[in-house]
C-alpha cells in the first residue's frame, strides 16, 4: 500500500512536468494553429539562460523573470524573422523549420554550455513545501506553479480583449483581420507567450531531471501524449492530461509488479510504460479525436 501511494505521488510529480510542457504546446497551438516540435529545446535553452544568470550572481527569482522576459522576446523574434517569410508556405515546410530549430537549439546549447549535466537550484525551501514526505518540496512547488500558470492563461484568454483577439487570429485569420485584429502581431505574441511558458516549464523541470541539452527529449514525448489526451486546444485539458499520463505510467509499473508477484509472470512493467501510455492516447483519440476536453472545431465552408 505504501508503494502504491508513493507511486501515485511520484506520478503526480512527473505529471506536473508533463503538464507544464504540454501547456506550452497548447499555447502555440491555440495562438498559431501549429504544433511546435522545437518547444522542448527552446525551453531547455531558456533554462540555460537563467542558469547562466544565476551563475553570474543574480538571485533565483530575478534570473527566473529575466529568463521569462528574454524568452518572450526571443519567441517574438523567431516568429518575425524565421516564420514570417513562411506565412503562406505549406504545413510541411513549417514542420521542417521546427525540426531545424530543434537541432539548432540543441547544438548551440551543447557548444556553449557543454553536455555535462548541471544541477539546477530549486526555489522551494524544504521547510515550507516538504511537509508531506510523500512528495518532494520541489515537486509540490512544480504542481503549484503549473496550476498558477494555467489560471493566469485561463484569465488572459477568457477575460482580456488581447486574449480574445489572439484566439480569433489563430482560429479564423481572415475574419479576424476584417474585424480589425492585427493578425501578424497576434501570431508573434502567441510565440512569445509560448516561449515564456516553456521557459517556466524548463526551469521547473531542470531541478528534477538535471540540466543538459537533451533534457527535454523524453519529456516532450510524454507532454505530447498529455496534451493530446487532454485536448490540444484546451489548456486545462492539457494540464489534466499531463497529470494523467504521469500517474498512468507509474501505475503500469506498479500493476506489472503486482501481477508478477501474484502470478509469477511478467506481462507489463517499466519497459512498457511509454507503450501503454501511448496506447491509451491512441484509444482516446480514436474514440474522441479532439481529446477528452478539447472542443470540436466546426468549420463552415
Amino acid at each position: 500500500m505504501e508503494q502504491l501511494i508513493q507511486q501515485v505521488a511520484s506520478g503526480l510529480a512527473n505529471g506536473a512536468i508533463y503538464a507544464c510542457v504540454a501547456l506550452a504546446l497548447v499555447m502555440i497551438f491555440v495562438s498559431t494553429d501549429h504544433i511546435n516540435f522545437a518547444q522542448g529545446e527552446m525551453a531547455m535553452f531558456s533554462t540555460y539562460i537563467s542558469w547562466q544568470l544565476i551563475q553570474w550572481g543574480l538571485d533565483y527569482w530575478i534570473a527566473f523573470f529575466a529568463a521569462v522576459a528574454i524568452s518572450f522576446v526571443a519567441g517574438v523574434l523567431i516568429e518575425r524573422i524565421v516564420l514570417r517569410p513562411l506565412h503562406t508556405a505549406p504545413v510541411l515546410s513549417i514542420i521542417v523549420v521546427f525540426i531545424g530549430l530543434l537541432a539548432i537549439c540543441n547544438s548551440v546549447a551543447g557548444t556553449v554550455w557543454s553536455y555535462l549535466i548541471k544541477e539546477y537550484p530549486t526555489p522551494f525551501p524544504k521547510e515550507v513545501f516538504g511537509f508531506s514526505g510523500l512528495i518532494g518540496a520541489h515537486q509540490l512547488g512544480v504542481v503549484v506553479v503549473t496550476l498558477l500558470v494555467l489560471s493566469l492563461l485561463f484569465v488572459f484568454f477568457r477575460y482580456t480583449p488581447l486574449g480574445l483577439a489572439m484566439r480569433a487570429a489563430a482560429q479564423n485569420p481572415v475574419s479576424a483581420r476584417l474585424a480589425g485584429v492585427r493578425v501578424d502581431w497576434m501570431l508573434a505574441l502567441g510565440w512569445g507567450l509560448a516561449a515564456a511558458v516553456g521557459a517556466v516549464a524548463g526551469m521547473m523541470v531542470a531541478h528534477i531531471v538535471y540540466l543538459d541539452p537533451n533534457m527535454m527529449a523524453g519529456i516532450l514525448l510524454y507532454a505530447f501524449a498529455g496534451a493530446l489526451l487532454g485536448g490540444i486546444s484546451s489548456p486545462g485539458g492539457a494540464v489534466l492530461g499531463g497529470f494523467m499520463v504521469g500517474v498512468l505510467e507509474n501505475l503500469v509499473a506498479y500493476l506489472g509488479n503486482a501481477i508478477e508477484k501474484g502470478f509469477g509472470v511478467y506481462i507489463i512493467g517499466n519497459g512498457e510504460k511509454l507503450t501503454v501510455a501511448l496506447i491509451i492516447v491512441i484509444t482516446v483519440l480514436t474514440l474522441k479525436p479532439s481529446g477528452l476536453f478539447g472542443r470540436v472545431v466546426v468549420k463552415r465552408v
Binding site: E2, Q3, Q6, Q7, S10, G11, A13, N14, I17, S107, G110, S114, Y115, L116, I117, K118, E119, G136, V205, I208, V209, Y210, D212, N214, M215, A217, G218, I219, L221, Y222, E249, N250, A253, Y254, N257, G269, N270, G271, K273, L274
Partner: protein
C-alpha cells in the same frame, strides 16, 4: 569477359606490389596503406552530432593529443594525421564513414571509434578488410575475441568484468545480501547485468528485484520506489550519469540506504556525485581505472599536472571537469606507445602484433597500479580496476587492484 577482367585485376595488383616493393627498398621502413617515412594516417569516427554528442569531446581530445605529439617531433619521426569523421552514433553512418576512411583516405587503422551499436556495424567489415580496429571506445565484452576477430581490440575494462568485480565484493562484504538492480534497458545494461549474475554464481537468487528504465524515461523515481519496496539491502546501479544521479538522490529522498554500488560509467564527481548531492552519495562504492580530473586528490600527481598543461595549451575551451578529456588523452597515449613499439615496420599486421604485445605498459592518468597488458590470446588491454568509496567530496581508493584477467 570475366576472365579478362580477373586477369586485369591480378595484373594490376601485382604491378602495385612490385611498385610497393620498390618503394620499400628505397624507404627506411616497411609500410602498408596509411604509413610512410613522414606520416601515419589514423582514422576515427565520433558522434559529433546527435543524441550522443557529449562523447564528441573524446575525438577533440585525441586530435589535440596528436597535435602535441607532432609538435614534439611525431612518432619515430613521423607526423600523425588524425582524421575524425562524424557518425552521429548511427550504425548506417559509421559504415559509410569507415569505408571512406579505409578505401579513400587509406588510413593505417581505425582507432577509438565510439559506441557499441556503431562498432558492431563495422566489426565484420574491418576484419574482412584486415584493417586494425583498435582500442574502441566501448566497454562491451565482445571486442576481445582474437580467434574470430583478429583485427579488433577494445581498450577500457569491459562491463562484464566490472559486473563480476562488484558481485564478488557484495558476496564478501554484505551480510545476508538481498540485491536490487537498476538497469538501462539496452546492450550496455545487459552486459553489466550478465557479468554481475556470473559473478554471483550459485548465489544469483540473492537478486530480489531487477528493474529497468528506458533512455526516454524522464526520471527513474518510480523504479527506485519499486526497488526500495523489495526490501533489498544492496543496490547495483547500472545507469548513465543523469539517471545515476537521479537514482542516488531519489533513494536518499525516500530514506532507502542500501550498500550502493555504482557502475564506472557514472563515476564522475562533476557529472554525477555533485548533481546528486554530496550528502546523498556518501559511502557509495564504484570501480575506476582512470583518474577523475575533478577529484582533488590527484592535484599533485605528475600526469595530472601534465594533463592540465596540455588542456591549457592544446585543448583550450574544453571543460576541465569533463572526464572524457582524460579518457581521450589516455587512450591516445596508448596508441602512441603502440605505434612507437612498431618501429619502422608500420604494416597493419605488425600494428596488430604490437597491440597484442603490450606488457605492463604504464599509461598516463590510469590509477596507480593499473597497467595495459595484452597478448595474442588476451585482447582486453585494461582489465583491472580499483574500488573506491565516496567520502566527503572525493573518491577514496581502498583495497587492492581487482581484476578478472581470466575472462
Amino acid at each position: 569477359m570475366s576472365v579478362t577482367r580477373r586477369g586485369f585485376v591480378v595484373g594490376a595488383s601485382s604491378a602495385t606490389m612490385l611498385a610497393g616493393a620498390a618503394a620499400h627498398a628505397q624507404g627506411k621502413g616497411k609500410y602498408d596503406d596509411g604509413a610512410s617515412d613522414t606520416e601515419i594516417k589514423i582514422g576515427n569516427t565520433m558522434p559529433y552530432s546527435g543524441p550522443a554528442s557529449a562523447y564528441g569531446v573524446i575525438g577533440k581530445a585525441i586530435d589535440a593529443y596528436f597535435k602535441m605529439v607532432n609538435d614534439k617531433g611525431g612518432i619515430n619521426g613521423r607526423k600523425v594525421k588524425f582524421i575524425s569523421l562524424d557518425d552521429a552514433y548511427s550504425p548506417p553512418k559509421i559504415v559509410e564513414a569507415a569505408r571512406q576512411l579505409v578505401e579513400q583516405e587509406k588510413v593505417l587503422c581505425l582507432f577509438n571509434t565510439l559506441g557499441t551499436p556503431t562498432n558492431t556495424a563495422i566489426h565484420k567489415y574491418m576484419n574482412l578488410k584486415k584493417v586494425p580496429h583498435l582500442f574502441l571506445a566501448t566497454g562491451a565484452s565482445k571486442w576481445g575475441k582474437p580467434k574470430e576477430f583478429p583485427w579488433t581490440m577494445g581498450w577500457q575494462p569491459d562491463y562484464h568484468t566490472e559486473g563480476v568485480i562488484f558481485a564478488k565484493h557484495i558476496l564478501a562484504n554484505v551480510k545476508d545480501a538481498k540485491i536490487a538492480v537498476l538497469m538501462q534497458n539496452d546492450d550496455y545494461g545487459k552486459d553489466y547485468y550478465e557479468g554481475f549474475r556470473e559473478g554471483l554464481g550459485k548465489d544469483v537468487s540473492k537478486i530480489v528485484k531487477h528493474v529497468t528504465y528506458e533512455v526516454t524515461d524522464p526520471t527513474v523515481d518510480s523504479q527506485i520506489i519499486q526497488l526500495k519496496d523489495s526490501g533489498a539491502n544492496a543496490f547495483f546501479n547500472i545507469a548513465t550519469p543523469k539517471f545515476a544521479a537521479q537514482a542516488i538522490r531519489k533513494a536518499a529522498d525516500i530514506g532507502w540506504k542500501p550498500a550502493h554500488y555504482l557502475n564506472n560509467v557514472s563515476a564522475s564527481v562533476a557529472a554525477v556525485m555533485k548533481p546528486a548531492g554530496y550528502d546523498n552519495g556518501q559511502d557509495i562504492i564504484t570501480a575506476a581505472y582512470l583518474k577523475d580530473p575533478t577529484d582533488k586528490q590527484w592535484d599533485g600527481a605528475d600526469d595530472m599536472k601534465a594533463w592540465r598543461e596540455w588542456m591549457a595549451k592544446y585543448n583550450p575551451g574544453a571543460n576541465m571537469g569533463d572526464g572524457f578529456n582524460v579518457y581521450g588523452y589516455a587512450v591516445a597515449a596508448t596508441l602512441e606507445k603502440t605505434l612507437e613499439q612498431c618501429g619502422n615496420e608500420l604494416t597493419r599486421a605488425n600494428l596488430m602484433k604490437q597491440a597484442a604485445n603490450l606488457k605492463k605498459l604504464v599509461v598516463p592518468l590510469l590509477l596507480p597500479g593499473i597497467t595495459v597488458n595484452t597478448s595474442p590470446t588476451d585482447f582486453y588491454p585494461i582489465q583491472s580496476m580499483r574500488l573506491q568509496r565516496f567520502k566527503g567530496e572525493t573518491w577514496e581508493l581502498f583495497g587492492d587492484v581487482m581484476s578478472n584477467e581470466s575472462a
